[in-house]
């Protein structure tokens, strides 16, 4: 029996590794072949450039060292790093050790994996000793990660993770195998070390300890077999488990660097992104829907459903597209765009034609002002903007004062890209016809679509916060600083969506005292009012809004300032905190100054 084992114990590992290799190669080839022609040309163009080197660097820093997870939580980062980087080093150094020992590179691959089974002589050679001590140190490093992983199942809070994803059966098999690999390796090597004295500090110590109380010879082959089987099981379970993310992530890093990007329809690159998800659950913690007890529509579950082909509209459309999860995702998956691609797939059968849209005449002006549908429900914003335009003496045209089609962004968020194009074309022609050099939008939702999907050559597109800052710099409007302490709420579409964080803050710096808070810039909250979610109920939106407000109230601000009409409208439901738009702040300041000047004039008049 022992003879059979000693002859065939490497087979589970070898079979598993070959199976895994074949599956991964087939999938990779299929994915790359499925890319669009342009993407393939991109890859060919960039393969022999610095980008490949950059990808290798990123693969090491993200795939092995897990730098981004360190940013989320250092203990969680260490756990991932010790497992990935430690295992990687074990394989590489184990291989070098075998080459050193054999004096040749021609040996079966499994030999380096089961090195201590085959090589018994303990030499006094310094280098050989160094190798065995290093290997033990690395094993200890990996084992520390494994034990952290065990403990994470009991108490995940200390890893900065409140919630974790539910596992599929495939995941459970792979996870159990993975958990067993390194403890079994430790035991197998210790058994051999106990018998043959060929271990390092750790395995030798454990081996001697065990050997003093048991006879290890009959069990040693079984131990190595168990180790080999745990590896084999893990490799065979890997393609159908979440651990498929390990090879896929590397491919994703390379393709992303070569400039391959997501398309409007689901293609193999989308599939690569889906398979790159490790289901770590970091996106669960960043999702504010959790505040409203919506617990099964988060990005990780959407990706899982896409993989299992079980995605429902209820899951797909129950998302605010606020982008917080995308910001936190350690793999850098484009979660928002992936979801929108799915929405396009889900709704492409009923795009509207909007044949009724008529071309109405544009007015000639220097600046076009597009308030947006939402701003018409928060009239204080458009009135403030009109006041400021007049104050600064700008020749402007209020494009949607009376009537204009929607900007098209809400349709896009629903996946109705073809329909949105009709609205975009209608608005675009009018904007160009006006001959303006600047387009000012009051709504970040409109701003984003103007910037990304309208082709408006030679027209500067600005959100009103940028534009007002520009006016201050050009001394078209004055500023003075009252003692109001305020918090600035970054709207999702303006902040994470369009990367505008500094301009509103700079502008507010002229007119108020801005309190820095924890959840700001790319970590900012969503107000809960997002148009991207059509499944959420009003009372659920309010829960999300209230939890954000409660966070803001801790700083005891005088006002909450935002630069999005929809955020303002949503927050206005809460009575505890006054919410104002950035344009209102500027406008009020101008008005106050004006009345003060009038008072001074009166005083001067009465004095004279």
């Amino acid at each position: 029996m022992n003879e059979i084992i000693s002859q065939y114990f490497t087979w589970p590992f070898t079979i598993g590794a070959i199976y895994l290799g074949i599956i991964v190669i087939i999938r990779f080839v299929r994915w790359v072949i499925g890319l669009s022609k342009i993407d393939k040309i991109r890859i060919l163009k960039n393969v022999f450039t610095i980008k490949t080197w950059d990808s290798i660097k990123e693969a090491v820093s993200e795939g092995l060292l897990h730098r981004k997870i360190f940013k989320t939580n250092s203990l969680l980062g260490y756990m991932h790093m010790s497992l990935a980087f430690g295992w990687f080093l074990l394989i590489i150094i184990g291989h070098i050790e075998t080459i050193y020992h054999e004096g040749t590179m021609a040996f079966p691959f499994y030999k380096s994996i089961f090195f201590r089974y085959f090589v018994h002589e303990s030499t006094g050679n310094f280098i050989a000793n160094l190798f065995s001590e290093t290997m033990d140190l690395l094993l200890l490093f990996v084992l520390s990660g494994v034990f952290l992983a065990y403990y994470k199942r009991i108490n995940s809070r200390i890893y900065g993770i409140k919630r974790t994803t539910k596992l599929k059966s495939g995941d459970k098999i792979a996870l159990s195998a993975l958990w067993l690999i390194f403890p079994l390796r430790l035991l197998a090597e210790s058994f051999s070390a106990g018998i043959h004295n060929n271990g390092g500090f750790l395995t030798q110590l454990l081996g001697n300890l065990l050997y003093s109380s048991f006879s290890l010879e009959p069990a040693v082959d079984y131990m190595w077999l168990a180790y080999s089987m745990s590896l084999g099981f893990f490799f065979i379970a890997l393609p159908n488990s979440r651990y498929m993310h390990i090879p896929t992530e590397i491919l994703l890093i390379f393709l992303r660097k070569y400039g391959v990007n997501l398309k409007k329809r689901f293609n193999t690159y989308s599939q690569i992104q889906v398979f790159s998800c490790s289901r770590c659950g970091i996106c669960l913690d960043s999702c504010q829907l959790m505040n409203a007890e919506i617990k099964n529509t988060q990005s990780v579950y959407v990706l899982k459903s896409i993989r299992n082909k079980s995605l429902t509209d209820e899951t797909l459309f129950n998302c605010l597209l606020c982008g917080r999860c995308q910001n936190d995702c350690p793999v850098g998956i484009e979660l928002n765009d992936l979801r929108i691609t799915q929405r396009i797939e889900s709704t492409f059968e009923y795009n509207s034609s909007y044949e009724y849209l008529e071309h109405t005449k544009a007015e000639k002006a220097d600046v076009v002002y597009f308030a947006g549908c939402m701003t018409h429900l928060t009239p204080a914003i458009k009135k403030s903007m009109q006041y400021i335009f007049n104050y600064a003496g700008i020749n402007y045209w209020f494009m949607d004062e009376d009537k204009a089609p929607c900007c098209g962004r809400p349709l896009m968020q629903m996946g109705q890209y073809d329909a949105a194009q009709k609205l975009i074309e209608n608005n675009r022609q009018r904007i160009i016809e006006s001959g303006a050099h600047t387009l000012v939008a009051s709504c970040p939702i409109c701003y984003k679509v103007f910037k990304e999907d309208y082709s408006l050559p030679h027209i500067k597109i600005m959100h009103h916060s940028e534009y007002l800052l520009d006016l201050v710099y050009k001394t078209k409007i004055p500023y003075f600083k009252p003692a109001n302490r305020i918090i600035y709420h970054d709207p999702c579409e303006l902040g994470r969506g369009s990367n505008i964080y500094e301009q509103p803050r700079e502008l507010l710096g002229f007119y108020t005292q801005l309190i820095p808070i924890q959840a700001e810039k790319d970590r900012s909250y969503c107000c809960g009012g997002s148009l991207a979610n059509i499944k959420i109920q009003m009372h659920e939106r309010e829960k999300i809004m209230n939890s954000a407000i409660n966070e803001y109230l801790k700083y005891e601000p005088d006002f909450l300032v935002t630069s999005c009409p929809l955020c303002k409208k949503t927050f206005a439901k809460n009575r505890e905190l006054i919410v104002k738009d950035i344009a209102e702040i500027v406008c009020e300041s101008l008005q106050n100054q004006y009345t003060e000047l009038q008072k001074q004039n009166e005083v001067l008049l009465t004095q004279s």
Binding site: C373, L377, C406, P410, M414, L566
Partner: protein
């Protein structure tokens, strides 16, 4: 309209239960139960961006749906631009944009032409 002055009364109207077609209505209610609470106040229609551009009455549409007369639904629903003003105005907090998307979906789903594919 021009020759009418002052008040006018709507022609009398009956709902024929034999012709009552509530397939789409049921589908919508099943997926968006808040639609049940609509009291036809017309706030949505008053604020509607599309209604500002063309004759488009979402309240009338929802009434037609409730009365089992979805004939003109397909042509009407296509006018909606999904801008979202209606949901902010609605005193009942109805997810009107979801209702619109569900109607669009139902029209494709229950279209006899698409039966083969759906089965």
């Amino acid at each position: 309209m021009s020759n009418k002055f002052g008040f006018d009364i709507s022609p009398s109207r009956t709902i024929d239960f034999d012709k009552f077609d509530n397939q789409i209505l049921q589908y919508v209610l099943q997926h968006e139960s808040s639609f049940m609470t609509c009291m036809s106040c017309g706030g949505c229609t008053a604020t509607c961006s599309a209604g500002n551009l063309i004759d488009f009455n979402i309240r009338k549409m929802s009434l037609g749906l409730r009365r089992g007369k979805p004939e003109s639904l397909a042509a009407e629903i296509d006018k909606c631009m999904l801008c979202g003003k209606c949901i902010l105005v609605c005193p009942r907090g109805i997810n009107i944009r979801n209702v619109v998307m569900l109607i669009k979906k139902a029209l494709v789903k229950f279209n006899p032409k698409n039966d083969e594919r759906n089965n």
